[in-house]
């Protein structure tokens, strides 16, 4: 793979992370006065317990290096980030923020990967099929339904699903990931339990996101359908299935993947709110509780983490893309 391409992508990734870090640095300092005192002030305002506040203040002064000039503070901050030192949680003092996030992260990653993969593959396939001649007309009724669903944000769907399937019809649990009181060992029943609890959150994301992918792929396919290489493929007497997969879909999917990279940010944003609604113990729910507890370091840590994750995911996608589109490595020359 072209080295220049790789470098460009890495630089973009670092740029995104750096911007997020800087935003996290600047915002608390926008409020006039001492940010730590301001933080603590607000915490007590919101009634959060500030046990051991003297310790907290001390550790923060050290960490923030508040007596030092801003640039030094900034550099120290960036250095800490590079070590994945996100500070100590205010509401769970003195547990490091990183530890807390790590506990919640696997849930979010699991939910997101499954939901996104499902929505993307189903949506893309549907979108492609809808444009293909030999697809039965009955399938086209899906189009308006999924389009309407695509307009609705994940969290509204979550509310409705929560009400309908969990509350009203008791098909699924109302929240969490395991039944309260069940043992935490890894067993088949536990896995099934988790899966059962994850259905509604995943469904909230998938039902809405599918429409978007479907519409996008449909648009791409329309562009590909008129292409000369499709006509020639037909003239060659190739089987319809091969033409669909290797000639049409394979070409139309390229911009879809770029689209996936771009929409990762909003998918994550949506997933956060879905977790909140279902009390799903991922990073999103953690954020919600952090907000309620005015735990600013945790809030900042989660934000940074979210941006980092999205950045990494996009980087991976960017690296995978040239494998699918042979033209890319050459264009960067």
């Amino acid at each position: 793979m072209n080295l220049v391409y790789l470098l460009r992508r890495l630089v973009t990734f670092l740029l995104i992370v750096w911007v997020a870090a800087s935003i996290n640095f600047i915002i608390p300092r926008l409020a006039p006065g001492d940010p730590v005192a301001a933080m603590l002030g607000r915490m007590s305002q919101q009634g959060a317990s500030v046990a051991g506040s003297a310790q907290i203040i001390e550790s923060y002064r050290q960490q923030f290096g508040l007596d030092e000039p801003v640039t030094i503070q900034y550099l120290k901050y960036l250095a800490a980030l590079a070590r994945f030192d996100l500070g100590l949680s205010l509401s769970n003092f003195p547990t490091p923020v990183t530890t807390i996030i790590m506990r919640a992260l696997p849930w979010t990653i699991g939910l997101l990967i499954i939901a996104t993969l499902l929505a993307f593959s189903i949506g893309t396939l549907l979108g492609a099929l809808l444009v293909w001649r030999s697809t039965p007309a009955a399938a086209r009724t899906l189009l308006p339904l999924l389009t309407v669903l695509a307009a609705i944000p994940y969290y509204l769907l979550a509310i409705i699903l929560l009400y309908l399937l969990a509350f009203r019809f008791n098909l699924f649990p109302v929240g969490g990931t395991t039944r309260i009181g069940s043992a935490n060992e890894l067993s088949l029943s536990m896995v099934l339990d988790v899966a059962h609890h994850s259905v509604l959150p995943a469904l909230s994301i998938v039902l809405s996101a599918v429409g978007g992918w479907m519409l996008g792929m449909r648009a791409m396919m329309v562009g590909v359908i008129g292409a000369d290489y499709l006509t020639l493929a037909e003239a060659k007497g190739l089987k319809q299935r091969r033409i669909f997969l290797r000639y049409a879909l394979r070409n139309a999917i390229l911009p879809q993947i770029t689209g996936l990279a771009i929409s990762l940010g909003s998918i994550v944003s949506g997933a956060v709110l879905v977790e909140v609604i279902f009390s799903y113990p991922g990073v999103g729910f953690l954020l919600y509780r952090a907000i309620q507890n005015a735990d600013y370091t945790l809030i900042q840590g989660i934000t940074f983490f979210l941006v980092l994750s999205v950045g990494i995911a996009i980087l991976i996608l960017d690296l995978v893309y040239p494998l699918l589109d042979p033209r890319i490595t050459y264009q960067r020359r």
């Binding site: 290489y229 020639l232 003239a235 060659k236 007497g237 190739l238 091969r242 070409n251 033209r327 050459y330």
Partner: protein
């Protein structure tokens, strides 16, 4: 572009040149032969007889299996006719595999490289992607693809139009060579009269969706009857004579001469047919 009353034949080993300007119906005709006409256009009747098979009466599946096997296409604009995300070997290979079933890897590879050799391409091309090839090379890959199954009939739609002059000649010669080897019929579509003069045995001139003149190439060039044919021939640059733009009167004549409601051709010489109307007298051949 609607095509009406088009009727012609091509013998094995013979090249039939389909000539006319853009929009005259040439591509529509070849698409119709391949039965690739898509809605909203449709074929309203007639027969398309290949060997002993009437293509009009074939089902989709029958058509699919005889396509490329017995009749293949070298498309206009090879630039866009190759799948950008497939290697050359796979694009040539998939036609072979589809119609002949699975082949041992080595055998397939040998065959493809052989085909490439026939069109004058080095074995390196085997693994390349289309965007790594020049225009001429892409066109020759298309020719290699088209002959892979030794078809009876090859339709070449403007095979040289997007190429520069030197490459044009190379491609034209390759095509001719290939046709001879297979003893296949070749329908050569184009508006380059010079190329037609070199390659075609017989020519059909189309104007606005109908044939206006059909005949052996020598006869047509020596004795063009229809005003449109004459116009086409006169547009070939000649070293001897300075090129004169056709007078407005020539277009008038052409307008009056066709298209006909009832296309009927008259034989003015052996094998040389012209669609005549009252305004063209038999004696106005020039």
């Amino acid at each position: 572009m609607a095509v009406r009353g088009v009727s012609f034949y091509v013998r094995a080993g013979e090249t039939f040149g389909l000539v006319g300007e853009s929009g005259s119906g040439k591509t529509t005709t070849d698409m119709a032969i391949l039965r690739l006409i898509r809605p909203p256009a449709r074929v309203e009747g007639g027969e398309i007889i290949l060997g002993d098979t009437d293509l009009q009466r074939c089902s989709e599946e029958e058509l699919r299996s005889l396509r490329w096997n017995r009749i293949s296409l070298i498309p206009q604009g090879a630039m866009n006719s190759l799948n950008p995300v497939m290697r050359v070997k796979d694009q040539i290979g998939d036609a072979i595999l589809t119609h002949e079933g699975r082949l041992p890897g080595k055998v397939l590879r040998e065959r493809i490289i052989d085909l490439l050799h026939t069109v004058g391409l080095s074995p390196d091309v085997y693994n390349l992607y289309p965007h790594e090839l020049s225009g001429g090379m892409k066109q020759r890959v298309c020719i290699a693809m088209a002959i892979a199954l030794r078809p009876q009939l090859i339709i070449a739609d403007e095979p040289t139009s997007a190429l520069d002059v030197v490459v044009q000649r190379l491609v034209a010669e390759t095509l001719k060579d290939v046709q001879k080897r297979l003893n296949a019929g070749l329908i050569l579509i184009g508006h380059d009269m010079g190329l037609q003069a070199q390659m075609a045995d017989r020519i059909g001139v189309m104007y606005k969706g109908q044939f206006v003149e059909v005949g052996p190439v020598r006869a047509i060039f020596k004795n063009p009857v229809h005003p449109y044919t004459r116009l086409l021939i006169s547009s070939i640059p000649s070293i001897k004579q300075k090129h004169q733009p056709p007078p407005a009167a020539a277009w008038e004549e052409i307008q009056q001469a066709g298209p006909q409601d009832e296309p009927g051709m008259q034989e003015v010489e052996p094998e040389h047919f012209v669609a005549l109307s009252e305004s063209i007298a038999l004696g106005s051949a020039g």
